[in-house]
Amino acid sequence: MTKRYLILEDGSIYEGEAFGAPATTFGEIFFHTAMTGYQEIMTNPIYHNQIVVFTVPTIGAAGINHRADEAIVPMVKGVVVREVAEVSTNRLQTMSMHEFLLRHNVPGISRLDTRALTRHLRETGAQKASIVDYPDDHAFDQLRALVMTNQEVQQTSTPRAYVNPGRGANIVVIDFGLKNGILRMLNDYDANVTVLPYNATLDEVMNLDPDGIVLSSGPGDPSAVPEDILDLIRTLQKEVPLLGVGLGHELFAMANHVEVEPMPVEHHGMNHPIREQITNQIMYATQAQGYQVVKGTIKNSDLFVTHVDLTDGSIQGLRHRNYPAFSVQFFPDTAPGPIEATQPFDDFMDMVNIRRGA
């Protein structure tokens, strides 16, 4: 097996073995604690330009199956894991994880101590990293010279509108980076979905006569999103039922004058209990969160808290006091993740269908 190295911006070097593509790669490194769903994680647009560390010791045993894609190509720039399963007996798979990464020129590195790496990353927080053939000064110079883009939404959003037809409610999805799971859920309600680029204008949205609007899950920093979008959300929430997910939740909060800040330790996993405030019920969902709304700024806004993460205390859901508009920080589309957290879609479609008299 070919030796390769994972190097971090702070000078750390981890030696491991190559899998996937033999390319050199750069990105922001983060760790994901989910036990399942590696394909969904690798293809989730929220991880665009990132290098994922899986804390679960082995992945790949289920192969790759296109029904589990969250985008047509992998979004991560690199994959780090203790061990890649060499054998998969999943009858649904079309290729192995190694073949998948090779096909899309994404390198991976295995057989390194991902526990030590994860503990280190918990201390340092997000930083730049690279998977290289040799960890010399040149490699570190290249890594330190790397400038991470703040144009993540612009890069992942669709350049033009497209339709995902259905016979039910007319839903407009504004694409700030859109994982397939959201469209899959809307398909379950037979919604007639139009996906618009992130920079859609008010007229472009309203000319479609939407029954409901979804702000999609994103990648990137909400404060890097153009200010016009907040104005658009402020207008739309008065007109049409609105659901925000992930980045869409953060933008919904900002549009209503609630502040959003980077989290001290990012959270990527599906093991935090989330409490629905109104019923006191606990649920688990996939979370991919680098930012959080600032609690103290909710009180003077028109929003109120609907969901709270019981492990780190972060706000997981907000709702507008005066309009049919709400948002969740977690991913309610179950791709991957427990299927108990899909309620926001039910609530949203109820809201939509009651208003359209269906």
């Binding site: 109104i278 006091r321 049919p324 709400f326 039910d346």
Partner: protein
């Protein structure tokens, strides 16, 4: 044979949605009073009040209304029911389990008005089954269930019946 058409989970979700709609329509919970129509309307009203309290950390008064003597198939003059909550100038949410002919709600409005002058009265029902005989409609509906007049709708609440469900027979 009774057939369950709304299970406990769906019933709880419907009450959650009604609660959010009440906040949206009233722009908050200031001045809000819930009045449940005996028997099951009281428990449903209490569930809504509990949810409002969870969200807003403020207790919402819940009154109980017995409307039997106000019914229009009752020939004697109605006996005034004393509500245990003040409704003068309040935003009242009147709660019942099933909205059918509208006659119960008409009686409830009379019983309510004998107790004061609310600023607004809204009606929340878990089930609207149609067949109105009076010009009355609900502001908040958990479930619209189209029925024929010969069918029977039964709402069960845990406090009285031991379980939550809506059944049709």
């Amino acid at each position: 044979m009774a057939k369950e058409i709304v299970d406990a989970m769906a019933m709880q979700r419907a009450l959650t949605r009604i609660t959010y709609e009440i906040i949206e329509k009233n722009k908050g919970i200031n001045n809000l009073v819930i009045v449940g129509i005996k028997t099951r309307g009281v428990y449903i009203g209490q569930h809504i009040a509990d949810r409002l309290q969870q969200l807003e950390s403020a207790e919402i008064p819940v009154g109980q209304l017995d409307i039997s003597s106000y019914r229009d198939d009752h020939s004697d003059a109605p006996v005034k029911q004393d509500l245990d909550v003040n409704i003068d100038g309040k935003r009242v949410i009147l709660v019942d389990d099933v909205l059918y002919t509208g006659r119960t709600i008409r009686a409830a409005l009379d019983a309510l008005m004998d107790n004061g002058r609310p600023a607004v009265v809204n009606l929340a029902v878990l089930v609207d089954r149609g067949h109105r005989e009076l010009p009355i409609r609900a502001d908040f509906v958990g479930k619209n269930i189209p029925t024929s007049a010969s069918e029977r709708i039964q709402v069960n609440v845990e406090e009285v019946d031991g379980y939550d469900s809506v059944e049709i027979e």
